[in-house]
């Protein structure tokens, strides 16, 4: 903290005025002094200047020395306790150490895990593991090639076809979402590495900014995770809905079988 500018100006002007007055009085020749009427009162002027000097020492210099001491103490405290350079450098070196780990983890997650052996599954698996949003459009074709197209109109009643179509849609959407989530995760990993590089040269004051940015990325990452979770719940819900639909169809078929059986038996009796 510094003295207010006005106080400094005031103090400086007063000191300069006192000094100027003393210099003028001392330099002026005897006659001039007489003209000023100073001769008879040199002792009084001298006493006055002594008083000013005393005041400068006691009222100005003493508090200034005290302020200087406080400033020094505050400076030492901040350098040694609050922001010690050694601790700051140590924290930065942590970011350097983490970088190696980050790169390793990214590389491990990029190891190929594909396992299909036949051509059609290989094609679908390649799209699924591509981590490339551009491959999403290809998934529907690959999916149909493997799991078959929707049942023909002549092969199944409409309710079954609807069920099949809905289920295929849910499965394909989940597969597409998985590719997108993989791609987003790759971007998050890249961002984490870049922010970490910034941290290696950051100052305590700028670290807060980087932390805020990382927090924003975390919110984003959580949002993507949430959307993947929603997709997962949709897949499981469709699975559950299918179970329920099968039971309903089965009940309906049993009713039809009962009535047909009854009719056949009645015809036999007649």
């Amino acid at each position: 903290m510094k003295l207010p500018a006005n106080s400094w100006t005031l103090l400086r002007n007063i000191v300069l005025l006192a000094l100027a007055l003393a210099v003028v009085v001392l330099i002026l020749p005897g006659k001039a002094r007489s003209q000023l009427g100073l001769d008879p009162c040199c002792a009084i002027i001298s006493a006055g200047l002594d008083t000013i000097s005393g005041l400068l020492k006691s009222v100005v210099a003493k508090p200034l020395a005290s302020i200087q001491q406080i400033e020094q103490q505050a400076s030492d405290f901040e350098r040694q306790v609050v922001w010690p350079a050694a601790a700051i450098n140590q924290a930065r070196s942590m970011a350097v150490q983490a970088e190696g780990q980050f790169v390793q983890m990214r590389q491990v997650f990029q190891l190929p895990v594909s396992s299909a052996t036949l051509p059609t599954p290989q094609q679908l698996e390649q799209s699924l593991l591509s981590r490339n949003p551009g491959a999403v459009a290809q998934i529907s074709n690959d999916y149909s090639a493997l799991y078959g197209p929707i049942t023909a109109q002549t092969d199944a009643p409409q309710p079954i076809r609807d069920l099949v179509d809905m289920t295929d849609a849910a499965a394909q959407a989940a597969m597409k979402r998985a590719v997108e989530i993989d791609a987003l995760a790759d971007l998050e990993l890249q961002a984490a590495e870049q922010i970490n590089q910034q941290l290696q040269t950051a100052a305590p004051g700028s670290a807060d900014i980087l932390e805020a940015q990382t927090s924003a990325w975390l919110v984003r990452a959580n949002a993507y995770t949430q959307s993947a979770m929603a997709e997962l719940i949709r897949v499981r819900s469709i699975e559950l809905a299918n179970e329920g639909a099968r039971l309903k169809f089965s009940t309906s078929h049993t009713g039809t079988l009962h009535s047909t059986g009854g009719q056949v038996l009645q015809q036999g009796v007649q």
Binding site: V59, Y147, A178, A202
Partner: protein, 267 residues
């Protein structure tokens, strides 16, 4: 004389120090004798004004500044960053670390392997090893337990394809878990280093460590998303498998109906 003092005061505000001295000297030298003949009372009054200003305007302000500086300094040292509290926080970090990290490592290192036969044991060991280097062996060990896809003449093509994709996605997910276990170990090491650093951190270096922890958290979230993507693929494949069976069943039922009708038409 009062007017002269007022003029001096206003000049003092307007002129800088050196200019003020120069103006004062010139005025005193050039002024006519009659004008320079200031009385003793005037000089005493001037000195009194200066001393009064020093005592009241300057002295009071400086004392106030000194007081404010002391208050701020004390506030920083006693309220914001009291040394004993900083040391206590550091001690707390060390104590917490000493109390929990060992226990947590022990729990984390417990082996959950449960298979008892040779082939499942090998596969399980690979699954739970947390070493991505073992991934190339995966296919071999998996096939020993879950069998290979039947030969072309032993099953219908669609069934072979479905078996293959089921196996593939199961293996992909299992491999991803191995990778995840390895990176989990690295994340735990990083977390441990961060906590260790916190135990000797200063208030000024703590934001750097906090930012580092957030970045690592982002990395962990990204890896979590990858695991979730693997789970999504698995669940989707499961659903697709069930649906494919339903399609085949519908076609088979229609074929059966057609054949029955033909039989009934031509007894």
């Amino acid at each position: 004389m009062t007017k002269l003092l007022t003029a001096l005061k206003s000049l003092r505000l307007q002129l800088s120090g050196k200019r003020f001295i120069a103006v004062l000297a010139i005025v005193l030298v050039l002024a006519p004798v009659s004008a320079q003949a200031i009385g003793l009372g005037d000089i005493v009054s001037l000195i009194k004004t200066i001393t009064g200003t020093l005592q009241d305007a300057v002295g009071t302000v400086l004392s106030e500044i000194q007081g404010i500086q002391t208050t701020i300094n004390n506030y920083r040292q006693q309220i914001i960053w009291p040394l004993n509290e900083l040391n206590r926080a550091r001690g707390f970090v060390s104590a917490t670390r000493a109390r929990y990290s060992g226990l947590m490592s022990q729990i984390q290192s417990i082996k959950n392997n449960s298979a008892s036969l040779v082939n499942p044991k090998q596969l399980e060991s690979l699954l739970r090893g947390g070493q991505a280097g073992g991934i190339p062996q995966f296919q071999q060990f998996y096939t020993r337990v879950y069998a290979a896809v039947p030969e072309a003449n032993a099953a219908r093509p669609i069934h072979r394809d479905m078996m293959d994709i089921d196996d593939a996605l199961a293996m992909d997910a299992l491999k991803t878990t191995v990778v995840s276990d390895q990176t989990t170990a690295q994340l735990l090491t990083l977390a441990d280093s961060l906590e260790q650093q916190s135990a000797s951190a200063a208030p000024g270096s703590a934001p750097l460590l906090a930012a580092q922890a957030r970045v690592t958290d982002l990395l962990a979230q990204a890896q979590m998303a990858k695991m979730l993507a693997a789970e999504l693929r698995q669940e989707a494949a499961k659903l697709a498998h069930q649906n494919a069976l339903l399609k085949q069943s519908a076609t088979a039922t229609r074929n059966l109906q057609n054949q029955m009708q033909q039989i009934l038409k031509h007894p």
